[in-house]
């Protein structure tokens, strides 16, 4: 994608039928650090890589609780992500107040896509939100995972990864996703952490580098503490050399053709994480 005369305005079509501003917004998502979501029949796990501006600062929060039964992980402009999380919390709490029952995730996602995201692609005085959201939640029809795009599109997934070097995670998830529906909660968490490891490309996986959250039937949304995450990491990191090497080699091979967006984190603009 190169600069052209049709990309100044979000309300300008290109002759080939594209809205470039919206596509540029989707590029912003690819710049953010990775976020991963997976679901089984009864649980949803959301995980993200902790990125800090510098060694001196704390890392940015990328996973938010929307309600006891809904959580969201973001990638891209985190400020935009926080605003949308606030919108989602508001919708959820208003529904709970009027109907005394949890807002079905599917309906929240549609409202988010239509009212918040799509509108911004059709007003000349607005700009698209530069953030992709992985919305995980539970309702009457079971556990769901959705991905909301800056364009206002949304898709349902068994497992998905967004952000920089997410392709590595997606490759890992593609190999394993068929078993996720029947996975136990513990296996699901382990798979999420393993997928995070794929995006780190050789960096040793430590619990301080990732944030993991779980929600499920009879389990309201909550974050896992560092200890629990480290315990899961220990179950596979302490394994003999061969397995670790094999894993790393795969990660490198898969990471090679990834988007150049993830190349140098130093090149990432300060507002994007």
């Amino acid at each position: 994608m190169f600069r052209n005369q049709y990309d100044t305005d979000v309300t300008t079509w290109s002759p080939t039928g594209r809205l470039f501003q919206v596509e540029y917004a989707m590029e912003a998502v690819k710049q953010g650090s990775a976020a991963i979501g997976l679901r089984s029949r009864s649980h949803v796990v959301l995980a993200s890589v902790n990125k800090a501006q510098s060694e001196l600062s704390s890392h940015q929060r990328k996973i938010f609780k929307v309600d006891d039964h809904i959580g969201v992980a973001i990638a891209g402009l985190t400020a935009d992500g926080r605003v949308l999380s606030r919108y989602m919390r508001s919708e959820s709490i208003n529904h709970s107040f009027t109907y005394e029952s949890p807002l079905p995730v599917g309906r929240l996602v549609v409202r988010l896509a239509d009212k918040a995201q799509q509108v911004c692609t059709q007003r000349s005085w607005k700009r698209p939100y530069g953030v992709g959201l992985l919305v995980g939640g539970l309702d009457e029809s079971g556990a769901h995972l959705y991905y909301n795009c800056p364009s206002g599109n949304y898709f349902e997934y068994q497992a998905f990864a967004i952000g920089s070097r997410s392709q590595a995670a997606k490759t890992y998830l593609e190999r394993r996703f068929e078993s996720f529906n029947e996975s136990s909660r513990e296996d699901l968490i382990k798979d999420a952490i393993l997928a995070i490891r794929e995006t780190l490309q050789g960096e040793t996986l430590k619990s301080s580098l990732c944030t993991v959250s779980v929600l499920g039937v009879d389990e309201p949304f909550h974050f896992l503490d560092q200890e629990s995450i480290q315990k899961v990491i220990d179950t596979f990191e302490k394994v003999p050399e061969e397995e670790e090497d094999g894993g790393e080699a795969e990660a490198e091979a898969a990471a090679a053709p990834t988007e150049q967006g993830g190349a140098g984190d130093q090149d990432v603009a300060p507002m994007e994480m």
Binding site: Y99, E100, P104, R107
Partner: protein, 261 residues
């Protein structure tokens, strides 16, 4: 509302003063014209509703009368209606307000169906929605003059609740409105138990309705019983209860006092 002080003839400086005390909120307002826009009294009213949970769901009974003050004017009013797939609403009080509520719920159910996504409004959601509506109207001093009974079954769980015209709302195993509170609930407190069979439930309701028929002057002997279970709602055809009037004291009521009635 006017407070007219006596004008003092002694001192001509005092003028004729008028006080109107405004009720200061947006809707209920400061002049007489707007007053006629809000509900002050009910006109056509339905009497009690009695409802109980039983083994397979909820049973609700009501008569079909609509009173215009003390006249039993309308004798074919259905005061119980199905809402969506899972709920049954019964109302006592102003009939036109009940019809208005049915219109609100119709829209609610319609929008819920339009989502077409496998989720549906259960009795708990409808009950809470109604509580919000009733309470908000009460806050504007323009109530919907009804006491509503909401029963339903969803995913095997029975639900029975009530909302009054001032927004008081609660759930229970058996509820009654109007006169039913005074005449039926004592019977229910003694004789209701969990897992009543359908026949026992109907017998219990008929017992309550019979007492109401004898003692409530706005009750008529034409009632319906509605049943809601996991399968859905059925409202029975109207029928009447057998009554007994052959008490000795009724046969010659003026026996002890000739000339009286």
């Amino acid at each position: 509302m006017f407070l007219l002080p006596v004008s003092f003839s002694i001192n001509a400086d005092y003028f004729f003063l008028q006080f109107t005390i405004p009720i200061d909120n947006g809707d209920s307002v400061k002049n007489a014209e707007a007053d006629s826009q809000r509900t002050l009294y009910p006109y056509v009213t339905g009497t009690s509703i009695v409802a109980i949970k039983y083994k397979d769901g909820v049973l609700m009974a009501s008569d079909m009368g609509g009173s215009y003050g003390s006249t039993l004017r309308y004798k074919n009013i259905e005061r119980m209606k199905a809402i969506g797939k899972h709920s049954l609403l019964g109302a006592s009080g102003e009939i036109s307000d009940f019809q208005e509520i049915l219109r609100y719920l119709d829209e609610l159910v319609l929008n819920d169906n339009m989502w077409d996504d496998g989720n549906s409004l259960g009795p708990k959601e409808v009950h809470n929605y109604l509580t919000r509506v009733m309470y908000n109207r009460r806050n504007k001093f323009n109530p919907l003059w009804n006491t509503l009974v909401l029963g339903g079954v969803k995913n095997g769980e029975s639900y029975l609740g009530m909302v009054s015209m001032i927004g008081v709302s609660f759930e229970d195993n058996h509820v009654a409105t109007g006169f039913g509170n005074h005449l039926a609930r004592p019977i229910l407190r003694d004789e209701w138990h969990a897992d009543l069979s359908f026949e026992d439930g109907v017998k219990l309701l008929e017992k309550c309705m019979r007492v109401l028929l004898y003692r409530d002057r706005s009750a008529i002997n034409k009632l319906q019983i509605a049943k809601i279970t996991e399968e859905g709602v059925t409202v029975s055809q109207p029928y009447s209860l057998k009554t007994f009037w052959e008490f000795k004291a009724f046969n010659n009521p003026t026996a002890g006092a000739e000339g009286s009635w």
